[in-house]
Symmetry: C2
Subunit: 331 residues, 2 copies
Amino acid sequence: MKKFVNDPKQFVPEMLTGIALANPDTLKYEPKYNLIMRADAPRADKVSIVQGSGSGHEPAHVMVVGKGMLDGACPGDVFAAPPMDYVYETVKLLRSDKGVLLLVNNYTGDRMAFDMAKEMSEAEGIKVATLFINDDVAVQDSTYTVGRRGVAGNFFVMKCVGAAAEEGAELDEVVRIGEKVNSVTRSMGIALTACTPPAKGSPLFELGEDEMEVGVGIHGEPGRRRATLVTADEIVDELLGAVVPDLPYASGDRVALMINGLGGTPISELYLLFGIAHRKLADQGITVARSYVGEYCTSLEMAGASLTLVKLDDEIERLLEAPAEIAYRVF
Amino acid sequence: MKKFVNDPKQFVPEMLTGIALANPDTLKYEPKYNLIMRADAPRADKVSIVQGSGSGHEPAHVMVVGKGMLDGACPGDVFAAPPMDYVYETVKLLRSDKGVLLLVNNYTGDRMAFDMAKEMSEAEGIKVATLFINDDVAVQDSTYTVGRRGVAGNFFVMKCVGAAAEEGAELDEVVRIGEKVNSVTRSMGIALTACTPPAKGSPLFELGEDEMEVGVGIHGEPGRRRATLVTADEIVDELLGAVVPDLPYASGDRVALMINGLGGTPISELYLLFGIAHRKLADQGITVARSYVGEYCTSLEMAGASLTLVKLDDEIERLLEAPAEIAYRVF
């Protein structure tokens, strides 16, 4: 296992310690619950936005806590849903009179933890809503999922609900916006290699030297098929061929296009894919009005990429443009 | 070779096309010279800042063109210095009455291209200065270098000269600042895997399943030694043990700490390293006042990381804090 790691069991806490030390003025770290939260949260005048998931998908979600995005993130161990009590304690710490919105990528373990935490929080009189994200068009059900999986498209939901909450929107309105963004967002990914969870120490699956997994999940779940590695052009055709007809996106649409790296693929290759996808969308009369290239939702060191489209309207575009400040940054 | 690529010979142009398409309002792309430049450059009221190097180190340098950073970047092919005429044409296109500053990481091929381009530009009456960056403490001379190599510490030079130029500083002053930043910046890296240039199609070197290369170069150059992979704590000791005594950084110093990913290492591991290094520096009385964690100067998909320290003073800190807007971004 070729990783920078001490005791694999301490991988997540040591990562979270690093995030907190890099952001002493803006973030707080509560080790008992793996919680990274805004230093200025909760605020009585805004809905608190929370997401948790397994670790191993960074920057999602612990590195996107901050102004205009999440108020808190409470991850589980690598590829494991957060324990229900982590979520429950997080909700209590981020309790606001305006309510708490829990974002959940659609995996069975995550849903269970968040549903139970919601129930327990409501029993204490806390106003809580949940919103499930399921942008991955690859497969209907999956290894850890009933229904579609939630993957990198989740970023757009976080960004829009985060902006709306920052502006003071009520909980119902924030939920409406999040559901709307989720409803116009579609993704699919391709893996070129597997990945190795630190505590497991060996790859999650095997992929031959000339193979790729089309429609891979972010925990290495099987996709639509195993295929021979083809050119970048053909890969983009495969991704657009699955994503575009699904909503469908159509000639005349304005979209956000994201090429998300799965962890081990350099950004040079992501921009190469972006350029190809941009051109092929233009050929279909679809205009890329907003561009996202980089790592948003990863699968440890997996080599691979996913493509996400969001159909834009004035409301979504305005919320995507709103300022935000998070730990994951260049400067 | 597991990459997203079409014809390997078109890897760099296709990447640059993607960068240009993602930034239609702020960047211009001149395919003849691999040039990515600010759409508003050159400006008569500011020194133009240019860097070029081999490709394969993205986001350096083509993705850090923009306000407060570079005015233009003219890379060569993967791991190959830009041809002299690319640099020369770039200087002509970015000619400003206030002058042009050429930043060059210290590699023999790059120095040759930039020195010749400078000479030819001066013969045409263009005011040009060059500044060589050599922050890597690993080895004195290297495969492609006389003297020390320039690696990720280069980011801090770009940031500070970019900010100074944006404020209208004269060429001499911009050079003074860049030389000062370079003089207080030190780096060293460790590779866990090799990398594969697209046109070569096979790894640049071989590294055993339990081996790491201590002091690796960003083109896979040998470092100080090949060693058995150890814990993250021990790796940080090794890096700090080389970097701290070199300047030296001492108790009472305020520093910027960068943990830079070499391309294939997930940001979770980088934050883990950051947390460890932060604590070990505090133990030595050195205060981390500014934090940089992510990919700044990579080596294709190499798994690995480098650590950079910059000794801060008020001037450097102010320039690092100045706003900047580049293609490489989250939102």
